[in-house]
């Protein structure tokens, strides 16, 4: 119904997560500098009872992705994520940052190591830096999901699955089986879970609102 204001806020994370520099125009991007204050507003706004994050992303800027993931994880309001299409690379920390995560049956998550390209100074410190960045991401995923660090590293460094890289592609249920995502599900399940985590109190005049408890 036009004009009906939702009390659930939906944040789509799509395309490339754009961070410190502007990507070429042909990329579809999620601008993290807009998402971050939105999350602050969602935390503050008394009319919003929960957050639904819908992901169909190919990854992107590591620090922007982690910033969004940390903000989502530290929201006091109930949060649910829904991975549709893809939740690849740095999209995965965002997917697991919520209170509950769903993945559609046909959605995929690619887990692979981070790469440094372009001109690098080939000294041990460069690789230590890469290692630290890698550990940061692994630590966040392990702390916010049911996967073990051992299993995550095994998936991340597996050879033979990806054409141009080491890593693993998980489809739907596989992501649930390894403990990364909570359940298979779609929109119906995502909204139902949010209604469960953040029930709508019945209106004072007895009028039943969508999602309200009986």
């Amino acid at each position: 119904m036009p004009g009906w204001e939702s009390d659930i806020y939906c944040v789509p994370i799509i395309g490339q997560i754009e961070g410190h520099f502007i990507l070429p125009q042909k990329n579809k991007t999620t601008k993290y500098e807009h998402i971050i204050p939105q999350l602050v507003a969602i935390e503050q706004n008394p009319k919003i009872r929960g957050l639904l994050i819908v992901l169909n992303t190919v990854g992107g800027d590591i620090e922007a992705g982690l910033a969004i993931a940390e903000m989502v994880a530290s929201l006091s309001k109930p949060t649910v994520s829904l991975v549709l299409g893809g939740g690849h690379s740095i999209g995965l920390p965002i997917a697991v940052a919520t209170d509950y995560s769903f993945i559609a049956e046909t959605a995929t998550i690619t887990i692979h190591p981070i790469r440094l390209t372009g001109q690098i100074i080939s000294v041990p410190q460069t690789y230590e830096y890469l290692d630290k960045m890698q550990d940061r991401i692994i630590r966040f995923i392990v702390e916010n999901s049911d996967i073990t660090e051992e299993k995550l590293r095994e998936l991340m460094f597996r050879t033979g699955e990806l054409v141009r890289d080491v890593g693993t592609v998980l489809i739907g249920k596989e992501a649930v089986n390894v403990g990364l995502v909570n359940s298979l599900g779609g929109l119906r399940e995502g909204i139902a879970m949010l209604n469960q985590l953040a029930p709508v109190p019945p209106a004072p005049n007895g009028e039943k609102k969508p999602g309200s408890v009986k």
């Binding site: 490339q16 070429p24 204050p37 507003a41 990854g59 740095i90």
Partner: protein
């Protein structure tokens, strides 16, 4: 640093990109970074505001067409 499944040479292909014609419009505490399009309209590139609730306003999302004399869209 990008962590993505797309090859970086595809993501970072700036060929054909035109330098955007950006302007900053300030209204009270709000600053709109807009891009002037060929049609004469202005598209919002970035919103800068100390009030987080401004970032929830529907027609102030990046990519929206905002008119340069800041008439509110209904």
């Amino acid at each position: 640093m990008l962590h993505t499944i797309y090859p970086l040479e595809v993501v970072l292909d700036y060929e054909g990109d035109v330098e955007p014609n950006l302007k900053e419009l300030t209204f009270g505490q709000m600053t709109l970074v807009v891009e002037r399009l060929e049609s004469g309209e202005h598209r919002l590139v970035r919103l800068i505001s100390p009030n987080p609730q401004d970032y929830l306003i529907g027609w102030l999302q990046p990519g929206s067409i905002v008119i340069s004399d800041f008439r509110r869209q209904i």
